[in-house]
Amino acid sequence: MIPAPRLLKFAGLALVGATLGFWAAKGAHLGWSQNRVPVAKTDEITGIVFTTYEERFVPGVEFLGTGLILGAVCLGIAFFLRQKKPTASNS
């Protein structure tokens, strides 16, 4: 059975990696998350530039921040639990 500190360490690292990877793969957007993405188009006859929206999710900085903080919390707890583990010299 995998010890809890190690499991938490892996979970934290996986969360940090997955969050960074997903955020980067979706365009590394440095603004707020978007549930729809504006796309500029031009009407040929009038020359009007207008906006339509593509319904797709783009993670923003709050998504990145939440994922990194949760990952860091997991790593922190893992580190804390490992520190508390009794050593052979203490027993």
């Binding site: 440095l30 603004g31 707020w32 978007q34 549930n35 009407d43 006859i45 009038t46």
Partner: protein, 206 residues
Amino acid sequence: MKKLVLASLVSAALAAAAHAAPTSFDFKDPKGVNTLQFSLDSVLEPIAGTAAGVTGTVAFDPANPAATTGKIVIATKSLVVPNATMNEHLLGNNWLDAAANPEITFQLTALEGTKTAGNVTTAVATGKFTLKGVTKDIKVPVKLTFLPDSFGKRINKPEVKGDLLVLRGEFMVMRGDYGIQPGKNEDKVNPEIKITIAIVGSAPKA
């Protein structure tokens, strides 16, 4: 003979009057291009969005643009920003209260300082702007582009006759003046809202 001359004169006068009458352009666009764009600075990035629910009519005579009249209406609930949570806040009670204030309107009262070059007229539109139930007189620099016989071409039916009128303008309003969170969170959300319009009206001919 006199009757014939009189009839001819009346016909000519009616024809001239008909020609001089302004054309009514409908801004409910069949292609769905018409949008109002708005933007206000905020923390991290500007809050920018659009409103596609544009309707209204403008009566325009290219020979006499100063006589232009009209009203443009925006459906408040058609305002959209990319972030769904922000969208809810924008239409909610604390911001625009879209349920109680379903329309944003601009009623043109005068077109001043008109200058026409070719088919383009620039002017300052004076009118009553209503936002969140508050009406104020504002002035908006506008550009009107008259596109004769372009309606059919635009809808891919060249056999259909009609004209187009493109209306462009940009102006700023203070959100506090219209009861939108007056004096609140100004360090996070700018009190100034930039509004940009680029819309087309159609006047098909029977």
